[in-house]
Amino acid sequence: LPTGKAEEWIVENVPSRHVRPLSPNIQIYQPQLTSVLSIANRIAGVLLSACAVVLVGWLIAAASGPEVYLRFHDLIASWPGQILLLIGTFAFFLHLCGGIRHLVWDTVRGFELRQIYASGWMVVAASVVLTLVCWFASLLIVGQG
């Protein structure tokens, strides 16, 4: 077969190469709890990877002595640092709770639509509550110390 013909033959006869209609773009779908949590879990994971870089920076600072550690500590204690830490805390609990939801799904449980929505709202509620509990506990301990 000539080269052009071979490609034509493949497109016509190999199912995986058929020209299929493309799925509609994601933007035309109304956001739902299920899809929003799915992408939020990924975004939180990427954010936490960035937090992991900060974690290593913090360990380097701690290993380098009190001066470097205090400078790092001041950076975290500044208000941009505190806002990032708050976002990081929420991302941590969202990814933790979302991850546990995924591990439950891996055991082939909780796939009824009502259960999916119930577990989804549980993830949202638990993440908010746990973030607030952590910050209040931390501020309380700082206040006492």
Partner: protein, 132 residues
């Protein structure tokens, strides 16, 4: 790792599921996820407990054997899990020739960061031991 419980022989014969290393990737992501539940909760709780601690108190705690060992375990599982997760994100959203470079860069960065974190933790532990 018992793959046979997760993939039926029929599925494998019919070529369903991953033909390559997909199962190993999926399974390792789960193992690290399960390990990260107690390790990350321990770490978060410890950070809160040490909110008001000064440098010496904090270093003394971090340098003691069990916290140092848990910290090293956390770093290994965290960066392993991050490498696997970031790999999937890059494979899904980056379709240009930059993909392979981003995959290489994230994998190298995860290994380098884990190594740096472990060395720092060991240095804190040795420092605390030498101080006693």
């Amino acid at each position: 790792m018992d793959r046979h419980r997760f993939r039926s022989p029929l599925n494998r014969a019919m070529g369903l599921g991953s033909a390559k290393a997909g199962f190993g990737h999926w399974w390792t992501e789960r193992i690290t996820a399960v390990a990260l539940i107690p390790l990350s909760v321990w770490f978060a709780a410890s950070l809160i407990a040490h909110s008001g601690s000064n440098y010496q108190t904090f270093i003394g705690w971090m340098g003691s054997p069990i916290p140092a060992a848990l910290m090293i375990l956390l770093l290994i599982t965290l960066f392993w899990h991050a490498a696997l997760g970031l790999q999937v994100v890059i494979e899904d959203y980056v379709h240009s020739s930059a993909q392979i470079w981003m995959l290489l860069a994230t994998r190298f960065a995860c290994f380098a960061l884990a190594a740096t974190g472990i060395v720092s933790t060991l240095r804190i532990a040795i420092g605390a031991w030498a101080a006693n």
